[in-house]
């Protein structure tokens, strides 16, 4: 059983041995690190207090379903914002890339839009729009902070995301346009069928990162009123005089953001491999 099979080359045997040793070292060091944490952390001064006010298991169990229900609102805001951001930022990116002189006003507008909403903190935009606009509109139906909070989020994120799209569009080589135009395709057809599909493919990894931060920033909308998970956790925390509900909210966010981050990493690695860059160990 043991021992190299005769079909293996010397190099394969070496590689295999190296992998085995790597796995062994990795496992040992992981176990050592976990042991250290388990042994040392409870000995830290005031650990009991920390455990009680942040990791109260009973309180967590009690508050969790309620938090999850509140989180549904976060999910809804997210689900509404996402397609709006996608469309708006793509339009802004295309406007900034247009070359026709007739479209100059549109181009200028797109520049102002990105400069303003990228330069103002998201939270400030949410306050300005979320409190400001309902004050201007007398109609009750339109004074919902949920709507304006979402609008603010969409505007802020579209400004960032449009820059990502713009970089993607510019990364498509001029010769691709030349090839399309030489077939007789118009500049609009070229953009739609040749440039955008390539640009979008290239920017998916960075877009995934904005997606993760959007998932978190949805919670900012709570600052102008809507009771989503952060607000809910805040209420519970002050009722129970214990921070565990915050930890519960954090766990809920992590349940969503960690998988997304992993997917983003995976896509990025795949894109790197596709473009021919290999990692050097």
């Amino acid at each position: 059983m043991a021992g190299p099979e005769p079909s293996l080359t010397r190099r394969e045997v070496y590689e295999r041995e190296r992998r085995r040793r790597g796995a062994f070292i990795g496992a040992t060091s992981t176990i050592a690190a976990i042991t250290a944490v388990v042994v040392l952390v409870p000995r830290a001064p005031r650990w009991e207090q920390v455990k009680q006010s942040f990791f109260d298991v009973d309180l967590l169990r009690e508050s969790f379903p309620d938090l999850l229900r509140a989180f549904w609102l976060d999910v809804q805001i997210f689900a509404w914002s996402l397609p709006l951001i996608f469309v708006l930022s793509l339009l802004v990116a295309i406007a900034r890339n247009s070359r026709s002189p007739a479209l100059f006003p549109l181009r200028a507008l797109a520049v102002v839009f990105t400069d303003v909403f990228r330069g103002v903190p998201v939270i400030l935009t949410i306050y300005l729009i979320g409190f400001g606009i309902p004050g201007l509109i007398p109609s009750r139906a339109w004074s919902n902070p949920l709507i304006w909070g979402t609008v603010a989020l969409v505007l802020s994120y579209s400004a960032y995301t449009s820059e990502v799209f713009r970089a993607g569009i510019e990364s498509v080589h001029e010769s691709q346009r030349a090839a399309a135009r030489s077939l007789g395709m118009s500049s609009r057809q070229t953009m739609r069928s040749v440039v955008l599909p390539q640009a979008i493919r290239r920017v998916i990894p960075p877009l995934m990162n904005s997606l993760v931060s959007l998932q978190k920033d949805v919670a900012l909308v709570s600052l102008i009123g809507p009771v989503e998970v952060l607000r809910r956790a805040q209420n519970q925390t002050s009722l129970a005089a214990n921070f565990t509900p915050y930890v519960g909210a954090a766990i809920i966010f992590l349940g969503l953001t960690i998988p997304c981050t992993r997917i983003a990493d995976h896509l990025l690695t795949r894109e790197r491999r596709r473009t021919g860059a290999t990692a050097i160990s």
């Binding site: 030349a178 135009r181 077939l183 007789g184 057809q189 493919r201």
Partner: protein, 250 residues
């Protein structure tokens, strides 16, 4: 001289900033004629081809396609450009489409042919160019020679009346040059009108009806290949051919 002129360039000038790249080009290409453009790097061959296809706006002059000035300011270039095919040195296939879609995209988008029909015609073209086994492949899975043949098929799908070829074998490994040049031979046999910039002097000699030597944005000398290659009348042409010979390209 009864063959009609397909493409005529009259007094074409073109500058990039302060550098005059084309300095008064006059050239007539008869229907079915194959003209090669030779000349040193930077002499303006690519610019001349790109201008002929309106990919690059000219500063002055006329570009007559069947006697009609397509460079007339204010004309929509798109419907005119489709009548002129162009093949690039770097193939420029669309990497996100399969081979058959690369060939079908022009007729679909520009001529409004249905997807199925465009693919069917694309398939026929690809078979004709010996690429039937690569129809569903993607460009980055193919050799340079295959990619360039797909690029030719993509251009032919638009049924161009003239083809502009810009050093279409320069990016290829030597052993792949032949398969692409074979396609060009077939095109000539089919009577395609071609304007062909190349560094392949042997091939230029074989295929051309006429050779033009470009020097600093002007056609310094032109004539049938035998005459121009064996007895160039201009000193500059002699010098250029000598350099090419020394480099072992002839």
């Amino acid at each position: 001289m009864s063959t009609p002129i397909k493409l005529a360039l009259r007094g074409i000038t073109k500058s990039f900033g302060d550098t005059a790249v084309l300095r008064g080009i006059d050239l007539e290409v008869a229907t079915g004629e194959v003209i090669t453009l030779i000349g040193a790097s930077g002499s303006g061959k690519s610019t001349l081809l790109r201008c002929s296809n309106l990919l690059e706006p000219i500063d002055d002059g006329e570009i007559l396609l069947d006697g009609f000035d397509i460079a007339e300011p204010g004309l929509d270039p798109d419907p005119l450009r489709r009548r002129i095919g162009m093949i690039f040195q770097s193939f420029n296939l669309f990497p996100h489409m399969s081979v058959v879609d690369n060939v079908a995209i022009g007729p679909r988008k520009v001529l409004g042919v249905s997807k199925d029909q465009a693919r069917e015609s694309a398939r026929e073209l690809l078979v004709r160019l010996g690429l039937e086994s690569r129809i569903d492949a993607y460009p980055d899975q193919m050799s340079g020679g295959q990619q360039q043949r797909v690029a030719i098929a993509r251009s032919l799908a638009m049924k161009p009346e003239v083809m502009l070829l810009d050093e279409i074998t320069s990016a290829l490994d030597p052993e792949l040059v032949g398969e692409v040049l074979d396609v060009v031979r077939d095109l000539k046999a089919d009577g395609m009108t071609m304007l062909f910039a190349t560094h392949e002097m042997n091939f230029a000699r074989e295929i051309s009806d006429r050779v033009c030597f470009l020097h600093q944005g002007q056609i310094l000398e032109q004539g049938p290949p035998e005459a121009l290659f064996s007895q160039p009348s201009e000193a500059r042409t002699q010098e250029f051919l000598q350099r090419v010979t020394d480099a072992g390209r002839i």
